[in-house]
Amino acid sequence: MANRAGITAHEEAGRVRLVATGPWCVATAAGLDARLRVLAPLGPRVAIDMTGVERLDSAGAWLLHRTRTRLAEAGVPVDLEGVRPEHAGLLQRVVDVDKPMEMVAPRSLAVVDLVRHVGQATVTVLTEARALLGFFGLTVTIALRTLMRPGRLRFTSLINHMEQVGLNAMPIVGLLSFLIGVVLAYQGADQLRRFGAELFTVNLLGVSILRELGILITAIIIAGRSGSAFTAQIGTMKVNQEIDAMEALGLDPVEILVLPRAFALILTLPLIAFFADLMGLIGGALMSLFVLDISLGQFLRQLHESVTTTTFFVGLVKAPVFAFIIALVGCYCGLKVAGNAESVGRMTTQSVVESIFLVIVADAAFSILFSYLDL
């Protein structure tokens, strides 16, 4: 049926008769389009006979209208004959809506685009930094005010968040730290063996895990796990207008939503980081035992010689700071969500990227500080 759609030319006295046949619809439009695009004005006057068109939809009507307009523009008048009454309305409709429409966004020069993007990104970063600083100030103010009257702190919420960000994160943090310990011991042993200094693998493990890796790995996992959850939770509430409802009821969203999360994270991150330190060392000790034949007693003795409590505390003192950064960025991004679901996803991604970025920047700052202090 689809194959019979077509148009054939017949010579007549003084004019050309184009006989259209078959269904003129989307299914046959591709073939008709190719045929009609190259149709030459065969005579001084053309008639299109529509009697044989058994079906017409808007695609077919458009092809007909386009052909008629094109021939008319070439100076060939076109008579339309035999249009079935049920097709006339549609045809008229298509003629009516043949109006210009902007179909593509206007493009600017690539160089201009580049400059504009760089400028926009710079301004965004700066305003973002300023807003985050403002939020930092707001949170600290409200936190101090709340600490003056501890009764205002939501304890149920605090405990709930401590469980979610702390206790529930232990398996994943523990496993990953253990694996990092294993990898570190293996790679360290491989390199140090060349100097016959396998035993110093223990020093490498102790210092790097306690000072840097334990807390950094923990902070990165928590940023990905809990920072994003903060953004998603608060963002969803924002979409549901729950935040607006709170403010309308005279409740402070920072006090109710941000503080319990921030305190929960500040209190639990040091604990998880300590757990991560332990698991990392256990992983390293196990690997040393199997690959380097360093017994557990030997390992502990060497560890005792290589690290001091300072090493341990230098690592752990960073935890509350990282925790505050993660909570602050997570909640800030959540509160910045605009009224749609798409925005929740975008802000969650931004929250994770920003908090990991800031954690690593803070870690670098700590390194510089500690080297000044000779720790």
């Binding site: 989307v26 591709a30 389009d33 808007s58 695609a59 458009w62 549609l90 429409m101």
Partner: protein, 256 residues
């Protein structure tokens, strides 16, 4: 109203849908005739949208048969199902436009999916469709986020009409529009139905739409459906029907 041929374009028999233990429809029968505008109403949670989604195959029914354009939707292979889906268009509640594409590109999506239409023709047809739904001349290049709710619905309708479907499914087309926008949308649907010969399956709560453009009204009650004209429903003693069609709002809209 326009003449309606006695040819069921959608035939539902003994439909049963359920989510877990919760049964939404049970033993539901429905015929939609070619060329008619059927309005589907019902209280919240009676499964108006679920019925629509079951018919277009987004939800599998637990029992019963659904025939659309003479084909049993449960017994189609992928290619047949894809071919059938090109013969209907769906307008979701908020237009459901693809947010990363412009309006023009959105309308071209179903045409590209067909695979045989050359690009130049696709653009010409998209232009016609966007004009057909009455969008302004700069709408084609805009992204959905730049459009108002009413414009998004119009753009969604243009996409639903891209392949000249025989049936269009509309999910609450006038919800969220102001009365002027809603009236314009009603008028648009009525016009398109006349010029394109569409069959319209419309889930709605808008009493004005029901009154102005629907030939028949299907009411979901007690997991089944009652179909009839407005006069039939007004004469039906069922308490929900009486409350719905004789309530204070209905009386105003229906000019009773």
């Amino acid at each position: 109203m326009d003449t309606v041929a006695a040819d069921p374009i959608i035939r539902v028999r003994g439909l049963r849908t359920q989510f877990g233990a919760q049964v939404i429809h049970d033993g539901l029968d429905l015929d939609v005739w070619r060329g008619e505008v059927l309005g589907v109403v019902g209280g919240s949670g009676t499964g108006k949208s679920v019925l629509l989604r079951a018919i277009i195959g987004l939800i599998r029914q637990a029992a019963g048969t659904i025939e659309v354009l003479g084909q049993n939707t449960a017994r189609l292979d992928r290619a047949q199902a894809a071919a059938l889906r090109q013969r209907w268009g769906v307008l979701f509640q908020d237009g459901a436009l693809f947010s990363s594409l412009t309006v023009a590109e959105n309308v071209e999506v179903p045409m590209k999916e067909r695979g045989d239409l050359p690009e130049a023709l696709r653009q010409e047809l998209a232009r016609i469709k966007i004009n057909l739904v009455g969008l302004r001349s700069d709408a084609g290049r805009k992204y959905p986020s730049e459009l108002s709710g009413g414009m998004r619905k119009r753009a969604g309708l243009a996409r639903a009409l891209a392949l000249d479907p025989e049936i269009v499914f509309l999910d609450e087309p006038t919800a969220g529009l102001d009365p002027i926008g809603a009236a314009a949308f009603d008028e648009l649907i009525r016009n398109l139905r006349r010029s394109l010969g569409l069959t319209v399956f419309m889930v709605t709560h808008d009493l004005d739409s029901l009154h102005l453009i629907c030939d028949r009204i299907a009411v979901l009650i007690d997991r089944k459906i009652v179909v009839g004209t407005l006069a039939d429903h007004l004469a039906n003693p069922h308490p929900w029907l009486q409350a719905y069609f004789r309530g204070p709002r209905a009386r105003l809209a229906l000019g009773a």
